[in-house]
């Protein structure tokens, strides 16, 4: 018997996820189209972004069916980026403050 390690899933699974991704993309486009602003805009943008990313990685890239050793090895390291994100935001606020102080009017 041939030894197959591949992923086998019904075609309906892919079509459903495809449909969901279309709905989520339309939703995120509508956030801009209807001019939502402030925290609501940010909440919706990030929500749709993470849902889409999750569906692609979990189903299209088959991460859902991989062993935990691979899942954790790939998905945990990017969490470090949150630290870089925090440092970037701190630095940006400080730069903005000093630019206002030295280059601003008066």
């Amino acid at each position: 018997m041939e030894h197959v390690e591949g992923q086998q899933h019904p075609i309906g699974t892919y079509l459903k996820i495809w449909g969901l991704l279309f709905v989520l993309s339309t939703a995120s486009y509508l956030v801009d189209y209807f001019h939502f602003h402030g925290y609501l805009r940010w909440f919706l943008i990030i929500l749709f972004m993470l849902l889409k990313a999750g569906l692609i990685v979990a189903v299209f890239m088959h991460m859902l069916w991989e062993r935990l050793a691979l899942m954790y090895a790939i998905l945990v390291p990017p969490l470090l980026l949150l630290v870089l994100l925090g440092i970037g935001a701190l630095e940006a606020n400080y730069t903005f403050f000093t630019r206002g102080l030295f280059f601003g009017p008066g």
């Binding site: 030894h3 197959v4 390690e5 591949g6 992923q7 086998q8 899933h9 075609i11 892919y14 079509l15 996820i17 495809w18 991704l21 279309f22 993309s25 995120s28 486009y29 956030v31 801009d32 189209y33 805009r41 943008i45 990030i46 749709f48 972004m49 889409k52 990313a53 692609i56 990685v57 189903v59 299209f60 890239m61 088959h62 991989e66 062993r67 935990l68 050793a69 691979l70 954790y72 090895a73 790939i74 390291p77 990017p78 980026l81 870089l84 994100l85 970037g88 935001a89 630095e91 940006a92 606020n93 730069t95 903005f96 630019r99 206002g100 280059f103 601003g104």
Partner: protein, 241 residues
């Protein structure tokens, strides 16, 4: 839950699940990533490194956008198109998003038909994926042309506001577009291999000499879905912010 796996020793090995499974996999003196071909594990590790590259771009973009005292050009208006006499905000980017998502859908199905050894349908689906990818790059070229020729946007400055807009835009979308273009070339190569039956007959590739098999279609798929994944983030933080 434990599941048997073929080991080539004639005895099915029981693999532990859950946290115990992680410890067992990583401490085993065979390969750490069980039940995946090594090429797939390596593609995942490459994608992890690419994640860090794109994240560095996007986080730098956030930093320069937050720290500039000059107004940022409104992407909703910059990327608007006039269609049928009506100005529709961000429409080109929305269409590009749908094109790329559709290409991900056809790619996922190509992987499925590949494992079923259905050469013809796999070949057609891979070609559709490549065509959608090429469409995406074409639309991006149109967008760049419009921005450079009509709006006068340059990496070092633009008439609409903050100079950082041009530099981050060309850097991020340029790098992503390069990934898509490489993916299209890669897709066409895999499609030809599928049609010729290289994967059925385990014919070695001309460059690496690796024996052909249908796992290659899935590994190609991982790269292609990653390109779509990066676009999800670019779309959210560059165009919708």
């Amino acid at each position: 839950m434990t599941q048997p796996v073929l080991t080539g020793t004639g005895v099915p090995l029981l693999l532990a699940e859950g946290l115990q499974g992680i410890v067992a996999d990583w401490s085993s003196d065979q390969r750490a990533f069980k039940k995946v071909p090594w090429g797939k594990a390596m593609m995942w590790i490459f994608l992890l490194s690419d994640t860090f590259i794109f994240s560095c771009f996007l986080i730098s973009y956030m930093t320069v956008r937050m720290s500039t005292t000059v107004a940022w050009p409104n992407p909703s208006e910059v990327f608007a198109l006039t269609l049928w006499g009506k100005k529709i905000p961000l429409i080109l980017i929305a269409i590009m998003t749908f094109v790329l998502i559709s290409s991900s859908g056809t790619m996922a199905m190509a992987v499925k038909f590949g494992y079923e050894k259905n050469k013809k349908i796999t070949f057609i689906l891979l070609l559709i994926t490549a065509a959608l990818g090429a469409t995406f790059v074409g639309m991006q070229a149109f967008e760049w042309t419009k921005l450079i020729m009509d709006e006068g946007i340059r990496p070092w400055g633009n008439p609409l506001g903050a100079a950082q807009f041009g530099s981050t835009f060309f850097m991020i979308t340029g790098f992503h577009g390069t990934h898509v273009s490489i993916g299209v070339i890669f897709l066409i190569i895999v499609a030809i291999k599928v049609l010729r039956g290289d994967l059925d007959h385990q014919r070695p590739g001309f460059l690496t000499g690796r024996k052909g098999n249908y796992e290659m279609v899935e590994i190609m798929g991982l790269y292609w879905h990653f390109v779509d994944l990066v676009w999800v983030f670019i779309f959210a933080v560059f165009y919708l912010w």
